[in-house]
């Protein structure tokens, strides 16, 4: 069975939402936190509801709606989301109030909306969709888990179109904590120069990307999602190479069949060492692209990479801002996305022209 990406939509730190040029006007930031550029939510969500919704809920619901609009579909056969941190803003609001008010007179709204499944639930509520609804919350493979669930549901014949998305938000508190944990660089820099001065730490990001997956051919489909695979804590670079080769082989492909490799470089020395090694071995002759200088690093950022890959294939263009190195790809037909999260969770996705 072939599975297609019927439509895709993304809110990110770049101009990616709605009918916009394809990353030809990259947005530059001079800090280690990239905030999502938010659309006018009134066009997507009932204004009465917007006021009560947190940042992640608005991003998720609006992106889901835009994705369905692009597919001209009213009702998906399932809704599946991935989020590592969940509804942080509401969680921290309730937690902080609980501490400051010493457990008295707490309003319930933040608690109600703090559960990790709130985005998927609010989409179901908005659409009145009674179908399968699931939320995966596993660190750097939250989105991949959601995607795998969707692929299985389609193969099981449970439905023929599934809305699947990745969402994560950054709050002031989480940015402060993750900075203290050493995830981000200690001084401001231009995101567009992220790969020029390798040092410890990356830049933080956030966003939402949704996809409508279907097994139905359609001339408007963006791309085919051939396969996805995750692997955990490979012990050596050879082990990582083996996993990638096995994955390609299982799909009857070799590295030379891949027109473009999108990797998860994030500017952190240790993180990027793995990509550097692969770029000299397995991917030495492949055209390459990166994306985290545009959207920042976050556990579901690979959903941005999938949005990027689907659009590259449909439009037949690799935006100059994502291309790396001297090999210039022309209208890629097969793209491999390879990302790892802190060298614990590695993921591979194969996207192809239909």
């Amino acid at each position: 069975m072939k599975i297609y990406i019927r439509s895709a939509a993304a809110i990110s730190a770049q101009k990616t939402f709605g009918d916009v040029p394809f990353l030809t006007e990259p947005v530059e930031y001079q800090e280690t936190r990239l905030k999502a550029i938010e659309p006018d939510y009134k066009d997507y969500i009932d204004p009465k509801l917007i006021r009560r919704m947190s940042h992640i809920i608005k991003m998720g619901v609006a992106t889901a709606r835009e994705c369905l609009n692009r597919a001209q579909t009213d009702m998906p056969g399932a809704i599946i989301t991935g989020t590592a941190y969940g509804c942080l803003e509401d969680t921290i609001t309730f937690l902080t109030r609980m501490i400051e008010l010493e457990e008295e007179m707490l309003p319930p709204t933040a608690f109600i909306q703090s559960t990790h499944n709130t985005v998927a639930a609010q989409i179901a509520l908005m659409l009145q969709c009674h179908e399968y609804n699931n939320t995966f919350v596993h660190k750097g493979i939250s989105f991949e888990s959601a995607l795998l669930d969707a692929l299985m549901l389609l193969k099981e014949g449970e439905t023929d179109n599934i809305l699947v998305g990745g969402t994560d938000e950054m709050t002031d508190a989480s940015f402060a904590i993750l900075t203290r944990l050493g995830l981000y660089k200690r001084w401001p820099l231009s995101n567009l120069a992220l790969f020029n001065t390798p040092s410890n730490g990356s830049i933080g990001g956030e966003g939402a990307a949704f996809f409508l997956l279907t097994d139905k051919p359609n001339s408007n489909n963006l791309a085919e999602l051939i396969a996805i695979k995750t692997f955990y804590k490979p012990t050596t670079i050879e082990n990582t190479e083996l996993n990638i080769n096995v994955f390609l082989l299982a799909n009857s492909l070799k590295t030379e069949d891949i027109d473009l490799v999108i990797t998860g470089r994030n500017g952190d020395l240790r993180n990027d060492a793995i990509y550097h090694a692969l770029n000299k071995s397995l991917f030495a002759r492949n055209a390459k692209a990166n994306y985290k200088h545009l959207c920042g690093e976050y556990p579901t950022s690979v959903s941005f990479a999938l949005w990027l890959a689907a659009n590259i294939i449909k439009k037949g263009v690799v935006p100059a801002i994502v291309a790396e190195g001297d090999i210039k790809p022309h209208a890629p037909k097969k793209i491999l996305i390879y990302n790892h999260y802190q060298n614990n969770y590695h993921s591979l996705m194969l996207v192809s022209a239909c």
Binding site: F94, M98, T115, T118, N133, N134, F136, A173, Y232
Partner: protein, 399 residues
């Protein structure tokens, strides 16, 4: 895709016992696990009973053979998952494709809420190790690492239906021939965050909860962990012990009515139960016992009861809410109750619905009040419904 998925092992820790045997003994003695709050420093002390696991973190850590610095949720998860895996007695586990699919609702919140006391005053303060494992996925990862499971792991969080979804996602990984063995279920420890959250919703009963009683007044929060070891048909054939049963039906539907409240008709509950029956190829009359979601809130029990009436009437199988023993263990409840469901099949038990006195006016049926032995139970329906309209039903059948 039509291959059967069997339950080869079970493990549970809850307010009524630290392992399977203790939980079953408490059912037989009809002894509930609720009491005053002892483990959390909260203003709610004395106002609401809770169903705590009767071991502090140091005792849990000793039992788990692991660090007491871990989240209580991790310790509960490890204890029950390991019991399940040991129970399954799979000798050649390392040669099989093995996964861990776990669920929880608030991750390492029990540690994070400590961190935030200092952090809220000054964001350069607070011990980072208390917030390092905040993510839900951290619980799963830590336990998988201890159990040596590396082929696949993931975490599901859909509020109170979380671990029921984990179980059937795990079964589908086997049916899709991606894995041979999966430890699946969930864990949640009590936290100040959830206690206060449910308190703001005004759905905590000040007394021991009374599920499906006309005078019910809310739920009691509990904590615990429950896991089943699911195996493929091929693996089941190689095991010397009898299987507990098979996962014959499952469905996840959404109520799409309100973020926290259930629709009056129990639309989501109805669709989940109906979908699970359809998947299993069974008729309502084939079900021998329903393990109710039965939280004890006016809203849930009315919606769930209405859906059962519509689907099962006029012939109702015995049913009960084991939350009258364990309290509502939230993200763990689907796993804990799945364990109870397959044990009901294996031993021919029906668990009592404690403290039931007055039938609900709108329902023509009542839950089972006493512990029953020697029943022939071939098919058990287990319900787990949660915030966000997430409704999941599982059907376990004798193998």
């Amino acid at each position: 895709m039509s291959s059967t998925v069997y339950v080869a092992g079970v493990g549970v820790i809850s307010a009524i016992g630290n392992n399977v045997a203790e939980n079953l003994a408490a059912f037989e003695q009809e002894e509930a696990g609720m009491a005053e709050i002892t483990l959390i420093d909260t203003r709610l002390y004395g106002n609401v009973p809770v169903a705590e696991v009767k071991l502090n973190n140091a005792e849990l850590a000793a039992m788990a053979g692991f660090s007491s610095q871990q989240s209580r949720t991790t310790l509960l998860s490890l204890i029950a998952a390991r019991e399940a895996l040991n129970d399954a007695k799979i000798d050649n586990l390392s040669s099989l494709r093995t996964g861990f699919v776990s669920a929880n609702t608030v991750g390492g919140m029990d540690k994070s809420e400590n961190f935030f006391i200092e952090f809220t005053k000054n964001n350069s303060k607070g011990k980072l190790r208390d917030v390092f494992d905040h993510e839900c996925g951290s619980m799963t990862e830590t336990v998988a690492d201890v159990l040596g499971i590396t082929d696949y792991m993931t975490t599901i969080s859909t509020a109170c239906s979380s671990s029921a979804n984990a179980i059937f996602y795990a079964a589908r990984l086997i049916k899709n021939d991606m894995l041979d063995v999966v430890v699946a279920g969930g864990a949640d420890s009590l936290t100040k965050f959830t206690l206060n959250g449910f308190n703001t919703l005004m759905i905590l009963d000040k007394e021991f909860c009374k599920p499906f009683d006309d005078d019910r007044d809310g739920l009691n929060l509990g904590e615990g962990a429950g896991y089943v070891v699911l195996v493929s048909e091929k693996v089941a054939k190689t095991l010397s012990k009898p299987m507990y049963g098979k996962l014959s039906g499952y469905n996840n539907s959404n109520d799409a009515y309100h973020q926290t409240a259930s629709s009056p008709d129990g639309t989501g509950s109805y669709l989940a139960m109906q979908g699970a029956l359809k998947k299993s190829g069974l008729q309502p009359s084939d079900i021998n016992y329903i393990n109710l979601h039965g939280t004890g809130t006016p809203n849930n029990d009315s919606a769930e009861g209405t859906a059962i009436k519509r689907l099962f009437g006029p012939h109702y199988p015995p049913m009960s809410s084991t939350k009258s023993f364990t309290g509502h263990t939230l993200g763990a409840s689907g796993g804990v109750e799945a364990v109870f469901a397959v044990l009901a099949i294996k031993h021919g038990f029906i668990y009592p619905n404690l403290r039931f006195e007055t039938p609900m006016k709108e329902l023509p049926f009542t839950p089972e009040k006493h512990f029953l032995k020697g029943q022939k139970i071939d098919h058990v329906l287990s319900n787990s419904f949660g915030f966000g309209g997430n409704c999941t039903s599982l059907i376990f059948s004798a193998s």
